[in-house]
Symmetry: C2
Subunit: 323 residues, 2 copies
């Protein structure tokens, strides 16, 4: 097939935020959205009934992300949508990466979510009478996630789409729910200048844990969730201790323990690895502590030989939207 | 030492309720109290500075519970309290068992909690100016739990003392917190006429679980806790699926799957094993469903050859108190 003229020269651009997955004790199930860091995905209709990725710009070095839609986390969901929904036209896609690659901030999920949110707007205008449901959008975005991380986990896709704190089941049927999160809590996220491959970070994890550790971690997860639901920050803090994954991944991040200690010394409620790393996040309800923690965490990464950048964001930030 | 005359002929009697531990997805960490089923423990001061168990009456067959205080879940905490607090007198104890032995309803915890609550009242009157803290009472009651179950888990002791739904960490430092639980929810508890030894029921559990199952179970636990905290019964129901422990213990309880199916068919939110079993519990917000479920569960046990008795109780029932 050859590409012909665009049906709609304007198209739609979606902003899809970076996300912190795992959130210490919620391995593969919890995630929350950041405020101002994210990818922008523009989708235009094209008469050729296929998906074309025109351009990838922004932070990403082009050679690292495939323009082949079948190998791209924004492309794969759209191929599937085209097959299922048969709108009679195709999609031309431009991606502006705002999320560093391999940063543990849900960049692949954001490109996928941005693409499906932009396509949803396009279909509603050109083809469908109403929006696709959040479950449908998550279903399609997850198709891309499988390409990127080797597994269908909605812990980045769900908060990227819905905003705030989300809970999802690992696997094919994520059954996503939005959880309350305390309005006063800010996330400090610091991203060092290195990349970690999600598949590699998954590869270091032992496939089994002791039943005893499962119970200990469960007690912390329950405290964390109850703390979020009741805005009880002391309880949230009690639940902020990842016994299972952080100890196995910490060595992949130079300076991790110093960065964490710097955040704790600044007075945050807790600090752990964002997603598969190497980014590190901390939570606090005090903006002064957030600023101090960010600086201290960046300084600790520098002492470990890594430049780093940081952001402060409300934990309850909004999800992907048309801009 | 010989026992001499009582310092106080009245003494104090505490009612300590039966409890449902584990609560499906909260193995070793969650528990809630029942309303009208429980043990009564009466403690009198005696001049001899030791602990004497005068009598054990009620449902328990005397031969199954030791009158030796060092082997009794009510005696062990009081021996420790005597050593630590040195009131200058001893404790004479009478236990009236209302909780069937080996039923999975926290009978050993209830006797221990009843004893420490009664002693607390006695000490406040005779010796101390103020109540011991809940943490202190839990600490002492756990001493007895270690005798009974082979491990210090506060998942029966904590709800027995505090009432309602509680969260605790396994081990020496339970760090107990009370969690909100939906006011409208009732527990149906059915107890078949058989005993399961907690140590034996613990023995069937594999010491490891897969990381994948840990995540799947964590997703359910998070949904259950969020459902309880926000009174979202649909979410509580989503979280009511124990993938880890129930499948390994179900075969210890004749007719378990039929009993569970009977409860689910009656329309409960979920149904699982109470503590280490053999009692089975279900939750529902509908009193009609609760009544039907109770009858159907008893009938299912009868079909499996076991007589059974059942109770319906608000999930948020009160903890131990002086009566």
């Amino acid at each position: 097939m050859t590409r012909t003229s665009d049906l709609d020269s304007k198209g739609f651009t979606a902003f899809a935020p970076a996300t912190v997955a795992n959130v210490a004790v919620g391995f593969d199930i919890l995630g929350f959205a950041l405020q101002s860091v994210g990818d922008r995905v523009t989708v235009r209709a094209q008469s050729s009934e296929q998906v074309t990725i025109e351009e990838i710009s922004g932070l990403a070095v082009a050679k690292n992300i495939s323009l082949d839609p079948s190998q791209n986390t924004a492309g794969v969901p759209l191929i599937q949508m085209l097959r299922d929904l048969k709108p009679g036209f195709g999609f031309s896609v431009r991606i502006e990466k705002g999320i560093p690659l391999g940063s543990g901030l849900g960049g692949s999920a954001a490109s996928g979510v941005g693409a499906v949110v932009a396509v949803n707007a396009l279909l509603r205008k050109e083809f469908l009478k109403e929006d696709l449901s959040p479950d449908q959008l998550i279903h399609y975005a997850l198709e891309g996630e499988a390409i990127a991380s080797g597994a269908k986990h909605a812990d980045n896709v769900a908060p990227c789409l819905l905003g705030g704190l989300t809970l999802s089941r690992p696997g094919e049927h994520p059954d996503v729910v939005s959880l309350p999160c305390p309005k006063s809590v800010f996330a400090v996220v610091v991203n060092p200048s290195m990349q970690l491959n999600t598949k590699d970070a998954r590869g270091v994890l032992k496939s089994e844990i002791s039943l005893k550790m499962h119970s200990q971690q469960s007690a912390r997860l329950a405290a964390f969730i109850a703390g979020c639901c009741t805005s009880d920050l002391a309880l949230l803090k009690k639940g902020f201790e990842d016994l299972v994954v952080e100890p196995q991944r910490a060595h992949l991040i130079p300076g991790f323990f110093a960065v964490k200690q710097a955040a704790m010394d600044a007075g945050v409620l807790g600090c752990s690895i964002s997603g598969a790393g190497p980014s590190v996040f901390a939570l606090t309800s005090d903006q002064g502590i957030a600023l101090n923690a960010k600086q201290a965490m960046i300084a600790a990464f520098k002492s470990a030989g890594l430049d780093a950048q940081g952001w402060i964001s409300p934990m309850g930030s909004a999800g992907a939207r048309i801009v």
